[in-house]
């Protein structure tokens, strides 16, 4: 039973990793960023490239990935997302286009493959990143042998969740963001630069996705289409938890991850995933606003 719970915990942590960034962008800006999974993918590729070209290991790649994906997020916000505020469904479509562009950019090695130039670490093939020595092997907790890297991911997810919470609830930026979540018009009237704050928020969410990507590179094969399914999972978590509620996102990822693991134990992995979708549909039908929401006025 303990091992199943641990599998559930590690599934939850992966869900949360993807969902954290989404919770920030979707909650604050009402932007459905379908390219979020591709941000995760880009983060994973940063760790691949850092490993090949700089000899840097996974831990060093984390801050690099954060900066790179945050900058890319900033560019996307400026060029596309900014023009679509208030057109919620259109952002979904435009960012889907961006997702395709990003995937193809990696596949075609930024277009260099047309000229016969190949960059090691890019292209349509699969990539791998070695896990640092210290995180390999298993650790024994309560008489159970647990994968050390999985524990590391759970711990890192907790750190990131706390960091996100601290940014949202203990900084002036976070206060502005929360004001915008409640009422963008009123926030602007109070002198908050909504556009600027939104740009930073989008960059922050993208950066979080990048970090998630680095962590995932440690146990998943890295490929250009690895992000495609993640964004769906992330959205399910955010919507189930309640838009704009960080606590809701955390709780929902825990619930869905554990539920997935438990159903998968009594049937199989496919049915486990299917059950998660079924739960999400039921939650939206019964409580469209999500499980944990603040009382709006």
């Amino acid at each position: 039973m303990f091992d199943v719970l641990f599998i559930g915990l590690s599934l939850s942590s992966i869900l949360l990793l993807v969902a954290l960034g989404l919770a920030v962008t979707y909650g604050a800006m009402g932007i459905i960023n379908m390219a979020h999974g591709e941000m995760v993918m880009l983060g994973a590729y940063v760790s691949v490239l850092a490993n090949i070209w700089l000899g840097a290991n996974l831990l060093v790649a984390i801050p690099i990935a954060f900066v790179v994906t945050a900058l890319i997020g900033l560019v996307i916000e400026r060029l596309v997302v900014r023009r679509l505020y208030g057109r919620l469904l259109d952002t979904l479509l435009a960012t889907w286009g961006i997702a395709i562009i990003l995937q193809q950019a990696i596949r075609l090695e930024f277009g260099l493959s047309f000229f016969g130039i190949h960059v090691k670490g890019l292209g349509s093939g699969l990539q791998n990143v070695p896990v640092p020595q210290a995180l390999q092997g298993t650790v024994s907790i309560l008489g159970q042998d647990l994968n050390a890297y999985r524990i590391f991911i759970v711990a890192m997810t907790l750190v990131l969740a706390v960091a996100t919470w601290a940014v949202m609830y203990r900084t002036s930026l976070g206060m502005k963001v929360r004001a915008i979540i409640r009422n963008p018009g009123m926030a602007a009237a109070c002198g908050i630069d909504v556009k600027r704050t939104n740009a930073i928020t989008f960059a922050l969410g993208s950066g979080l996705a990048g970090v998630a990507g680095v962590l995932m590179a440690g146990f998943k094969t890295v490929a250009p289409d690895m992000g495609a399914t993640m964004v769906v999972d992330g959205f399910m978590v955010v919507v189930t938890g309640g838009v704009g509620s960080l606590f809701g996102t955390i709780a929902a990822s825990g619930l869905l991850g554990e539920f997935n693991a438990l159903v998968a134990m009594v049937s199989n992995d496919i049915i486990g995933r299917a059950a998660v979708f079924a739960v999400v549909i039921c939650v939206i039908l019964i409580k469209p606003a999500g499980l944990f929401t603040f009382k709006g006025r």
């Binding site: 679509l84 979904l92 286009g97 395709i100 562009i101 596949r107 496919i270 979708f277 999400v280 469209p288």
Partner: protein, 376 residues
């Protein structure tokens, strides 16, 4: 002016009908088979435009209805396939069921694999045909009643439909003994109408698809022009207001949702007749989003526009894909086109055409006063 304005649309529909009916004169059977597939996609585009453009419901799970239609027809055609008669039983049994059967299970549809009895009615192709259209419509109506009855709207509907199609895909892939899982249904027989077998590579089959598309387009266009269609557009613009005016908003939304699902089922059914396979790839998220891309490029606000958008994009894609190195680049182009269309051309190509037509028509009709103003 008013009559001119409405007539150019009628002309557009007529021109489209004449063009697709005339294609057999210029193309060979293989090319026509390809075009017939695109016409099915065109039908899908129209279905998306009906819910998205006219009802304001972005369904990210349209592939679910297409998939139901495709699987229903494929089950019937699979039982008509020569491979199904070679399993050593009196009645047809799909070959993959034998591979998945428990040792000692009787070779009969009743009980060869768990749930295989579900296939029994599909021994008649007409059952397949009816199920392909009616099941998606009924399912969509019930779904719509629940979703819209709860007054769920906007992105939440998209997420529910998206979750539903992915859920169905997982179940279909998991039920290997019943659906052949990942591999889908292949080696299908031919549909027969009045003793004529619909060979996918024949002009007859192409004409069947083309006529079906024209009928669907005409009926859908007439449907949205009715009073019910107008009320539907009112619910899109402000559902609260429509509700307070006394209209049963969920009923209208569910009805059109069901019509769109039925059209998608029909498209899936025809696609199987032409393409001779059904697979879980119809239920993938990317396919459902691709349909939305077609409708967006063609113009979500126009049934015909979305249909033409779907056909054009697929024709272009086929042309481009003939060059090996351009296959990946094509996806890149589609990505860019999509971003640009969403930002700069929210009404798509049909919106562009519409603006052009109204400019052309209004230019010579300026009153003297307006002309003077224009000169100044």
């Amino acid at each position: 002016m008013k009559t001119l304005f409405s007539s150019y649309r009628v002309w557009a529909y007529l021109a489209f009908a004449i063009v697709i009916l005339a294609l057999p004169l210029i193309g060979d059977e293989f090319w026509l088979n390809r075009v017939a597939k695109y016409l099915c996609y065109g039908m899908l585009g129209a279905a998306v435009a009906l819910t998205w453009g006219y009802a304001g419901i972005l369904n990210l799970g349209q592939g679910l209805f297409f998939g139901i239609g495709a699987y229903a027809m494929a089950m019937s055609l699979k039982l008509k396939s020569y491979t199904s008669m070679q399993q050593g039983s009196e009645t047809p049994v799909p070959d993959f069921m034998l591979w998945n059967a428990e040792p000692g299970a009787p070779t009969d549809l009743c009980c060869i694999t768990p749930g295989s009895w579900l296939w029994i009615p599909f021994q008649s192709q007409w059952v397949g045909l009816i199920v392909a259209v009616v099941l998606p419509a009924v399912f969509a109506y019930i779904m719509g009643r629940i979703i819209f009855g709860q007054r769920i709207s906007g992105v939440f509907v998209s997420i529910i439909t998206l979750a539903l199609v992915l859920l169905t895909r997982l179940i279909v892939t998991d039920a290997q003994p019943l659906t052949n899982g990942f591999n889908g249904l292949t080696d299908l027989g031919w549909f027969t109408v009045f003793g004529v077998e619909l060979d996918p590579y024949s002009k007859v089959t192409y004409m069947v698809v083309a006529v079906a598309l024209i009928i669907v387009l005409a009926l859908t266009r007439l449907l949205v022009a009715t009073r019910a269609g107008t009320i539907l557009q009112a619910t899109r613009d402000s559902d609260t207001r429509a509700l307070y005016l006394g209209y049963d908003v969920p009923a209208y939304q569910s009805f059109f949702f069901a019509v769109s699902a039925g059209i998608s089922g029909l498209a899936g059914m025809l696609y199987v007749i032409v393409a001779e396979f059904a697979s879980p790839s119809f239920l993938e998220l990317s396919f459902s989003v691709t349909m939305v891309v077609w409708a967006a490029v063609g113009g979500r606000g126009s049934i015909l526009g979305a249909c033409i958008g779907a056909i054009l994009i697929n024709m272009l894609e086929a042309r481009v894909s003939e060059t090996e190195s351009l296959v990946e680049a094509w996806k890149l182009i589609i990505g860019f086109v999509f971003v640009i269309v969403v930002i700069y051309l929210p009404k798509g190509l049909s919106g562009l055409a519409h603006d052009l037509m109204s400019k052309l028509q209004s230019a010579p009709k300026l009153s003297p006063v307006q002309k003077e103003e224009a000169h100044q």
